[in-house]
Amino acid sequence: MITAAAQEREHYLNASYGLKSWLLTKDHKRIGLLYLATITLFFFIGGAFATLIRVELLTPQGDLVSSETYNKLFTMHGVMMIFFFLIPSIPAVLGNFFLPMMIGARDLAFPKLNLLSWYLLVVGGLFSLYAMLAGGVDTGWTFYTPYSTTYSNGYVVATALGIFIAGFSSILTGLNFIVTIHRMRAPGMTWFRMPLFVWAHYATSLIQVLGTPVLAVTIVLLFLERVLHLGIFDPARGGDPVLFQHLFWFYSHPAVYIMVLPSMGVVSEIISTFSRKAIFGYRIVAFSSVAIAVLGFLVWGHHLFVSGQSLYAGMVFSFLSYFVAIPSAIKVFNWTATLYKGSISFQTPMLYALGFIGLFTIGGLTGLFVAALGIDIHVTDTYFVVAHFHYIMVGGALMGYLGGMHFWWPKMTGRMYPEGWAKLSALVIFLGFNLTFFPQFILGYLGMPRRYHAYPEEFQVLNVLSTAGASVLAVGYMIPMIYFIWSLRYGKVAPANPWGATGLEWKTSSPPPVHNFEETPVVTHGAYDYASLMAEEVEVG
């Protein structure tokens, strides 16, 4: 690996130049980078909204912005972060880039469809951005009827249309992944030799393909109701406002697993690599991803415990919700057991993965609280729920995403990030996150409702702590942004396999050639076979 040679070698980044070579690319790796740029932009827009929310909540009085503005801020924060950052994040960036490489394929099954998916996300995002600039929307990201259909003055239709369009991006990506995993595996890459990242994406894709159309239907109904006054959700016309909640959560609960399953896949790769051991109970962990995807479709009613749904429906949904806890618990135990007698090193990706386990454990365990009917009556629609889902979606999904970004950054760019700064920022993010969201559990149990612009004075101390944490967190997110860009030019040149990982993506050069592999790899053993990897290295010398 001579630096000069690596510089001159042709790879996917220097094979062609110019805007056109990017905007019309069919290379899954370049499309992954297009997604990266897009969702990073959306993340920082969503983050700016969050910053304003937290600053407003420093004082009990609603004194920084008006109530109307505040309501728009939390709505747009939710819409941006969920539909335009978290849902695409790992699948569209890391999945796009690495899923084909990990199974030894040259590309996804439908490269043009893959490019179309990116354009759909961009167009959807632009619609929602337009709605925000034109005047905003104040329904909350949940769009509950009849507020969204009859009473809100915001740009509900434009925002919802943006989400509708982005939904097709999600469906097509899922479809592409499913077909790719079925049809494009390299010789010898059997189902149970696939890395767990691929299993997690398979499960995620199932949800995307089966769940997202329901969201699309729901948005169409919302549109018909708001514009044509159809009456589906209007009690005066024999409709039912709660029907909307059923339809919405039928997608939006599984959507939580769209966000967190890929992150679990990333964590499995990282834990294995940095303890140089196969994931403990590989098959169980693989199946638990699929189990989460399937069970995730059966629990939507736990969002409706106090909505007036029948008592017995509430009990069934509570019961089923506890079933989802089991495969999640299995994963946490199995990751922990993987560390046992491993050879553990602590580079940045590992710090994020361990951080993920910690935060996901707290997020998951507090899920048991909200699934308990008796407690949910008290904590639903309070900051307890806000804290719980941020532990899952930021503490879980986002930590996994950042861990994955650090893990694969050398492969994607051919450059190493600065390890010291990266470790520092991982620590800052972990501490900032807990300081931001832990006080919110207490606030919620005290009874502070969510989506409150002003609040009673006795809640102030905890809100100040939370805002202080958010400032730390914001700094934590800025640092990687800076050093990642810095590393593109000044980072150390990355070797093909800087971590000693077993995946096929590490068997090709960094950055990879246009067609990923010089010759199609033939797979002879399972994922995470460190013994054979080290034997090969000895042979090669």
Binding site: N71, K277, Y322, L365, A372, I375, H378
Partner: protein, 336 residues
Amino acid sequence: MGKFQLFPVQASTLAPEVDHLLYFLLAVTVFFTVLIFGAIFYFAIKYRRRSENELPHVQHTGYTLEILWSVIPFGITMVMFTWGASIFFTASKPPNNAIQIYAVGKQWMWKLEHLEGQREINELHIPVNTPVRLTMASEDVIHSFFVPAFRTKQDVVPGRYSTTWFTATKPGKYHLFCAEYCGTNHSGMIGWVYVMEPMDYQNWLSGGAAEGSMAENGKKLFEQLACNNCHKEDNSGRGPNLVGVFGKQVQLAGGGTVKADEAYFRESILQPQAKIVSGFEPVMPTFQGLVTEEQLVQLVEYVKSLGPKPGAGPVDNGQKPAPKKSSNAGSTPANR
């Protein structure tokens, strides 16, 4: 700056029950968090990489551990489920001796009305140690009636009656919040629940400027809207006689029966065609848009008061409120 709190006050019979379940869940959470964090830290230190070329050799066969850590957590979660469901079940069933109060949510205030006719906005006065049943309606969007000190919350969905109940255990002043996002001034839809000694409550009830009880006001409305033109007490009207109907099973045209409860009367006023009483023509016009939710509950209370058995007093124990007479005059049906 207000007083700093870590834990909410317990001021209802439900509160300690919910909190006990919380303690159990907290104990489980702390146990597993310590277990997992402890294991991670222990392994991370003990098995840290000591040389670049070391290769761990661990054979993992069988599924004993996985079965163990699936079955044990599952057992624990089933305890949580059963415990939580039993609390929820109690919290969903108002006792028969509860006093009845009505609440109407609208952007952005809570309007409350006692059977005696006392009306309040964003304030609710109730007696201590007495079960209170709230029947709630919304004028516009979904709201949610939330009293943290009582650990109780119920969404108020437009187009139907929602019910909640609680028994306050400590006199005092407690927050009332709207917990379901309802638009611009959602965080201003707040108020206070005043829990009073029974004597004080009685004084409060008789002290205000109530203009007649709910049933009396309902009766006036019944006449103003000319409901009495058709719903006559001598069975000669074009609509069914409403005396003694509340709480009974009503025979419907085309077969089937329906229980004549609050929801049934509400629906019959707003969507008269939805359920036609056997033996009558579907001639009643809708009153959708003509009566507010507050007037509706007065009408319902009036119909409830037309009970078959004589009784007295404000306490509603399900189906035998104070009897009231209605006048019957005129012959044309009310129309829009």
